[in-house]
């Protein structure tokens, strides 16, 4: 069970969170303005990094914060937590 540094609560057990996957590029403001390939790439492609990547977590059973975690997917080591405490991102 990972120990996840919540910006609001401090380090908390993984069981309280939902992992929402790697941080993707932002959703195009106007999806119609991007080409088909760019759109489907945005949807289905994942960097799926072996090593350090950024991912989103939702502290659903704790304080409700969303946070971005920098984690090494090969070791689970957590390198940083880029989220400001409180509020939405």
């Amino acid at each position: 069970m990972l120990l996840i540094p919540c910006p609001w609560c401090g380090p908390r057990p993984e069981a309280e969170f939902v992992c929402a996957g790697e941080v993707l590029p932002p959703r195009p403001a106007d999806p119609n303005a991007v080409g088909d390939a760019a759109w489907t790439d945005y949807l289905v492609m994942r960097r799926n990094v072996r090593g350090v990547h950024d991912e989103r977590w939702w502290h659903v059973r704790g304080c409700g914060s969303w946070l971005t975690l920098r984690r090494d997917t090969a070791t689970h080591r957590i390198l940083a937590n880029d989220s400001a405490p409180g509020g939405r991102e």
Partner: protein, 196 residues
């Protein structure tokens, strides 16, 4: 709804488990600054730190459970009064909201020297007195279900566990098992989660 249920008997751990009488309960949600302003406007205090609770006049309690979440509770008799006041205050905010959630939850009290041993069977949260000081209140997980755990300032040796009512029978059964009372729950049959 009736008063508190009778204490259950425990065998393995010295604990007393009780289902508490319901309190009026309100969820407040919104931007942190709005919520704090709303509490002030309602004449209610804000807890000193995150994940803790503070009492106010008339046995009103304010739990600060998340950046966008407060829970205000009060004796059931004052449900309408407190609810009305909160409604009035929140009506003045465009995006901060309050909802009466009295009936959503059931609260259990776990008291006695074995209380932490019973809770630790279900929650990965550290409820030790150093990390979870009196007046602490936080959302966490208990036996796979989201709950709010509190260490009341009035009786720091006990814990309050508040759980969504639909899960109350399950949590009650687990507390009973964890206390080592050896009673055998029949699966499928709910444990009167609407008892009382």
């Amino acid at each position: 709804m009736s008063a508190a249920g009778p204490p259950m008997t425990a065998r393995r751990y010295a604990v007393a488990l009780r289902r508490l009488a319901p309190r009026a309960r309100f969820e407040a949600c919104g931007a942190p600054e709005d919520l704090i302003a709303a509490l002030h406007a309602a004449g209610l205090p804000v807890p000193e730190r995150h994940n803790s609770s503070i009492g106010s006049d008339g046995d009103v309690r304010i739990d600060w459970l998340g950046p966008r979440r407060f829970v205000i509770s009060a004796p059931l008799e004052r449900e309408e009064a407190v609810g009305g006041a909160l409604e009035a205050v929140f009506a003045g905010f465009a995006a901060a909201d309050v909802a009466c959630v009295t009936d959503i939850v059931v609260t259990f009290e776990i008291a006695g020297p074995g209380a932490a041993d019973v809770l630790a069977q279900g929650t990965p949260l550290d409820v030790g007195s150093a990390s979870f000081a009196p007046a602490s209140a936080t959302g966490t997980e208990l036996w796979g279900v989201g709950v709010v755990v509190e260490r009341p300032i009035a009786d720091p040796a006990s814990f309050l566990v508040t759980v969504e009512r639909s899960y109350a029978g399950y949590i009650e059964g687990w507390l009973d098992t964890a206390a080592g009372s050896g009673s055998d729950l029949k699966p499928g049959v709910m444990l009167a989660c609407w008892r009382g």
